[in-house]
């Protein structure tokens, strides 16, 4: 965890357009460290765009975004502090699981080899297996391990569990919780499955039509919403319906 209280994500007027189509509009956010942030919203709401901006994979059209106090992917040292698991959890099909761990070790100075090997064993992955032959759940576990074993201060996960069956998703979310606890890191997780978010997140951002509808601590949001009697699902659906009216 960062020793100071620098926001893990700090956005001011953040906007991204693809041609004339807005993907993210005038986004203002300031998220304190040490949270597991759930990013929810319908498909096409701008979740992936926000996460790719945070990972430095794309550049904003206008506005500013600071991740852990610096522009996204500012330099090698900054990239080292952010772990990113992309949508569909891409891995090199022709590499074995062990090759992926070697890749992580070679490309990350802060690589924690024992953590990586322990997690791979816990997830039941065979190091000699080609990554192209892994199941979706195993691939997601591998991608998460690579992102986490560099011991980042912030983990970003873009719909990591969307394509997984319930059992694999359960295992994945458990791994994610373990990692966050072990690393003391913050995490941002996008999902359209509210149950996932409810289970692991303590901070919520609701996106709809490229705009942030609500952002805040889950506990506080629930307290305000219906005087604390509603569920997270009620809360999110309430905000999404409100926006569409």
């Amino acid at each position: 965890m960062p020793p100071d209280s620098t926001p893990v994500l700090h956005a001011e007027g953040l906007t991204k357009r693809y041609g004339r189509r807005p993907a993210l509009t005038d986004c203002h956010l300031s998220i304190p460290p040490g949270r597991v942030i759930g990013l929810v919203g319908p498909n096409g709401a701008g979740k992936t765009t926000l996460l790719q901006l945070a990972g430095g994979l794309i550049a904003p059209t206008s506005g500013t975004l600071r991740v852990l106090g610096a522009p996204p992917a500012a330099n090698a040292a900054h990239v080292a502090r952010v772990g990113f698991v992309a949508q569909d959890t891409p891995v090199y099909a022709s590499f074995t699981v062990a090759d992926h761990l070697r890749l992580g070790a070679r490309l990350n100075p802060s690589w924690d080899r024992s953590l990586a090997e322990r997690r791979i064993a816990q997830a039941g992955l065979n190091p000699a297996q080609k990554a192209g032959r892994l199941s979706g759940g195993q691939r997601a576990q591998l991608a998460l391990t690579i992102a986490a074993a560099k011991r980042p201060d912030l983990l970003i996960l873009d719909e990591p569990a969307a394509a997984l069956d319930p059992l694999a998703r359960d295992a994945f979310l458990r791994s994610l919780g373990d990692f966050v606890a072990e690393l003391g890191a913050s995490a941002v997780l996008s999902s359209h499955l509210l149950s996932d978010v409810e289970r692991v997140c303590d901070y919520l951002i609701v996106l709809r039509d490229s705009r942030v509808r609500v952002a805040g601590e889950v506990r506080e949001l629930l307290a305000v919403h219906h005087g604390g009697t509603g569920t997270l699902a009620d809360l999110v659906l309430g905000h999404l319906r409100e926006g569409s009216r």
Partner: protein, 338 residues
């Protein structure tokens, strides 16, 4: 990062090295064959004492083979660029693995630089070895035939192929970066390489240094030494003139004594229906008819002592193109790709 480049590149590299080994075996065999033939011809000419015609026959035996080899050799950069250069970035973008590797603690530009450098150097090494072997194998024929400056042979000897390979890799990488698809990038690379292989020798290379010029009278005898006469458009041209110790880069149409082009009608008349004189030679009566018109051609040529300057200039030209493409990719990978 070098480990990753090696891990990803080792299979294509293995295929390349196997192909190179096959080509090398062929070239070594050809080289020995050529040397044996030369020794046999030299032994034959020692008795009469006049080696000129005998050695010309020796060169003639191998010139066609070597031209085929040189033409095949011209494909090498296109193949290197398409199979090694084009997939380098395109396959990552296609498979989405760039989103994995760009989130390790290595900047994109370093990732790009190392990958391009590893594959570029490997391509240059392969082209260099192949070129050195071909230069060695063809050595005895080249010394007799004296045509190493000619359009096709020039690009298949010494150092120029190394620069072609560097350029081809950079071109393939750039094509992959722009198309983001492996197969279109490969096709584009092949196409561009092939176009350049034709365009540069004919349009660019003649201008590396100002050509020397001379005017050659086209007597009947001179016309009979040419390889061809006329063209499909009916223009009054001669083809395949040679000049000792020089590469002819430019030949004008047939001109009359006052420097104007010979009228097509007159040329056609001599070509189709020349007065019968019983003249012999390649073009017979036509040559005799044209010879009477007091014609000449203006020739632009590069003397043979410019061979090495031209090798260096051509190499520098391609290496500069390669550097430009690489710099563009280096800039773009940071700015534009998601």
């Amino acid at each position: 990062m070098i480990w990753l480049s090696w891990r990803q590149f080792r299979l294509p590299l293995l295929v390349g090295v196997v192909c190179l080994a096959l080509a090398a075996a062929f070239l070594v065999h050809l080289g020995w064959d050529i040397r044996e033939a030369r020794d046999a011809y030299e032994a034959r000419c020692r008795t009469p004492g006049d080696c000129g015609p005998v050695l010309a026959q020796f060169a003639g035996d191998y010139q066609n083979t070597l031209l085929f080899v040189a033409a095949g050799f011209a494909l090498l950069p296109a193949v290197i660029g398409a199979f090694w250069g084009a997939p380098l970035v395109a396959r990552e973008l296609e498979a989405g693995t760039h989103r994995l590797v760009w989130n390790q603690s290595v900047t994109r530009r370093r990732w790009f630089t190392v990958k391009v450098a590893v594959v570029g150097l490997a391509g240059m090494a392969v082209a260099g070895v192949a070129s050195a072997l071909l230069t060695w194998a063809a050595g005895p024929v080249d010394r007799v035939a004296d045509d190493r400056f000619s359009t096709v042979v020039f690009g298949a000897r010494n150092i120029a192929p190394v620069a072609y390979a560097a350029f081809a890799v950079a071109l393939g990488v750039t094509a992959g970066l722009l198309t983001r698809r492996t197969v279109p990038a490969m096709a584009l690379t092949m196409l561009c390489c092939t176009v350049l292989q034709f365009a540069v020798p004919n349009l660019v290379r003649p201008h590396f240094m100002a050509a020397e010029r001379l005017s050659r009278p086209m007597t009947a005898e001179a016309i009979n030494q040419a390889r061809g006469l006329g063209s499909i458009t009916g223009a009054a041209v001669v083809k395949g003139l040679t000049l000792p110790d020089a590469w002819i880069s430019d030949v004008s149409e047939l001109r009359t004594a006052d420097g104007r082009p010979l009228a097509e009608a007159k040329f056609t008349e001599c070509f189709d229906d020349p007065p019968r004189t019983g003249a012999t030679g390649t073009f017979g009566d036509t040559a005799a008819c044209l010879g009477k018109l007091d014609l000449h051609v203006d020739i632009g040529y590069q003397p043979d002592d410019r061979y090495w300057p031209f090798q260096w200039i051509e190499s520098a030209f391609y290496l500069a193109l390669a550097a430009l493409l690489a710099a563009f990719g280096w800039w773009r990978i940071r700015r534009r790709i998601s």
